[in-house]
């Protein structure tokens, strides 16, 4: 737990670092069986061109839990999150090594369609990004592309999704108005409703509250608790209080700097510690985790 710990490790080679023990085992006080495993990432490394953004991440995510990814900027939390529904495919230079299993099936096998993956694994983004369409059309968009055409059925889905996202009462009288006319918090809840409308299995959230005020943030956190029984949620957050408030498990990522002679430093994101949220915040096993969660920087 010495503050110097990090300094020392940072000067070592990346490869040496990778042998460092990682807490990927399920903590005993939080029983979760193999059957509850939604995601199982094994030795995941993600590259952007020749830059290795994330190195050797292994972790499991469990059903009907909220799993939080925390860590400093540039540590690859979002990158890892985006591999869980193949969003990184959209970045031409991105490349994934290792594998992620989703309910036992590999996400990165050759014959896997990213379209099929994303229909089951939805995503809410950092900045609210409603379509320049009406509120109704925003929510109905997903069901429509899944082939639902009947007006009655769509109406039902739109209302149910907006209710789930705790937005219905605020927008029920102006469903025909533009989704862009909503406030930041409302727009983000609209995006959540849009994601829930396709009834995904998993909802990935990439810092969903970073653009919102505390009241809107509180609403979204309440919403997460409410929908947890039906969905599995993975959330990336910069806000450690948020992680403690909403999540069951927390993964702490950090940046590993590998100093090379000539100033050609490389840096890469690594998973430092993964466990129940309580354990990560109250009894961190790694000195870097402790430094980060106690506010001594990571």
């Amino acid at each position: 737990m010495e503050p110097q710990d990090q300094q020392v490790t940072a000067n070592q080679q990346v490869t040496a670092k990778l042998q460092a023990p990682q807490t990927t085992a399920t903590p005993a006080e939080f029983p979760a069986t193999e059957a509850d495993k939604i995601f199982d990432a094994k030795n995941l490394s993600i590259y952007y061109g020749s830059f290795r953004a994330v190195t050797d991440v292994s972790l499991s995510i469990y059903q009907n839990e909220i799993t939080a990814f925390i860590g400093p900027s540039g540590c690859g939390k979002t990158t890892v999150l985006r591999t869980l529904n193949r969003m990184n495919d959209l970045i031409p230079s991105a490349r994934v090594e290792g594998d992620v299993h989703y309910r036992g099936a590999s996400l990165y096998r050759r014959d896997v369609s990213p379209i099929a993956v994303r229909r089951r694994i939805g995503m809410v983004f950092q900045k609210p990004n409603p379509f320049p369409k009406s509120i109704y059309e925003n929510v109905a968009y997903g069901p429509r592309i899944n082939g639902i055409r009947k007006k009655g059925q769509l109406d039902e889905i739109v209302e149910r999704s907006l209710r789930q996202a705790v937005l219905w009462d605020e927008v029920k009288d102006r469903l025909g108005k533009s989704g862009l006319g909503l406030s930041g918090g409302q727009a983000q809840r609209l995006c959540i409703a849009r994601t829930l409308a396709v009834e995904p299995d998993v909802v990935l959230m990439d810092e969903p509250c970073s653009a919102l005020d505390p009241i809107a943030t509180g609403r979204i956190e309440d919403l997460m608790h409410e929908i947890k029984s039906q969905y599995t949620i993975v959330i990336v957050t910069h806000n450690m209080q948020q992680a403690t408030r909403v999540s069951d498990r927390t993964a702490f990522f950090s940046v590993l700097r590998n100093e090379k002679p000539g100033g050609n430093d490389t840096r890469t994101g690594v998973l430092v510690e993964y466990g129940t949220t309580q354990q990560i915040f109250e009894d961190p096993h790694d000195s870097r985790t402790q430094a980060y969660v106690t506010g001594r920087i990571g």
């Binding site: 969003m87 089951r120 939805g122 379509f131 009406s134 997903g142 592309i145 862009l180």
Partner: protein, 297 residues
Amino acid sequence: MMAIASEQQTVDLREPGGWRRTKNQIATVGMWVAFVVMLIPLGFVLFTVIAKGASAISWQFLTGNIPINVLPVTFGGVGPAVYGTLVITGFASLMAIPLGVLGGIYINEYGGNQVLARVINFFADVMTGVPSIIMGLFIFTIWVLHFGYSGFAGSLALACLMLPIVIRSTYEMLRLVPDSLREASYALGATKARVTLTVVLPAAIGGIVSGALLAVARAAGETAPLVFTILVTQTLNKNLFSGANTALSTLIFQNATQPYTGAQARAWGSALTLIAIAFILMIVARLITARFARYDR
């Protein structure tokens, strides 16, 4: 409390020195001068054309047959030229706009960093700068020499002229669509075609349409590409695909060099008609942009 407040040194929030203010005034005056100077040729052109052309305009002028040059403007009209301009430009638009929009979509949505996309982009750029007379010559050699003069040859030349403008404007409009919208759609399990058709195009359609209409307006006024391709005739030729045709721009070109006042007056009237057509297209472009911008905010 009051005592403390009164003792407090007041902060000087006035503007320090006069030079910044002077610079501001110089720049403001400079911008106004530039604005007025810009308006002079614009206003003068419009004023002259309206002053000399307005008296010629009548329903008969817009629809009547072109009389011989010696007759005054009260006889006949420029109907065949109006017809020719509308049909030739219309057909050019039918060819160039779908092709150009698809090209723009390809470059921005599908091409990525592929060589083909970069080549098309580069040549579209170069082609926007090609003088229109070159387009006329090009169509003259590859089409007119083999199949003869026709309105369709003129359409081909105008389409060549419009194509790069449409490609470029479509591309620029698609580039403005934020990636976050594409990602939102992909994250719901949409295919690339879906994303393009249901999110990207609707978000950019206003700009694409107004860009296309600007290209139409530009083509409607072109003279050089038509001189080589439609020849010129004074009679109505309803067959777009064969025989010489006529258009407002070429009529202006011809009549302006005539010594007869009647022919000159018809040229002024045609000029005003052409400006009116361009004006109407601009208004339509604005209306369409506004119509599609309904959900922008």
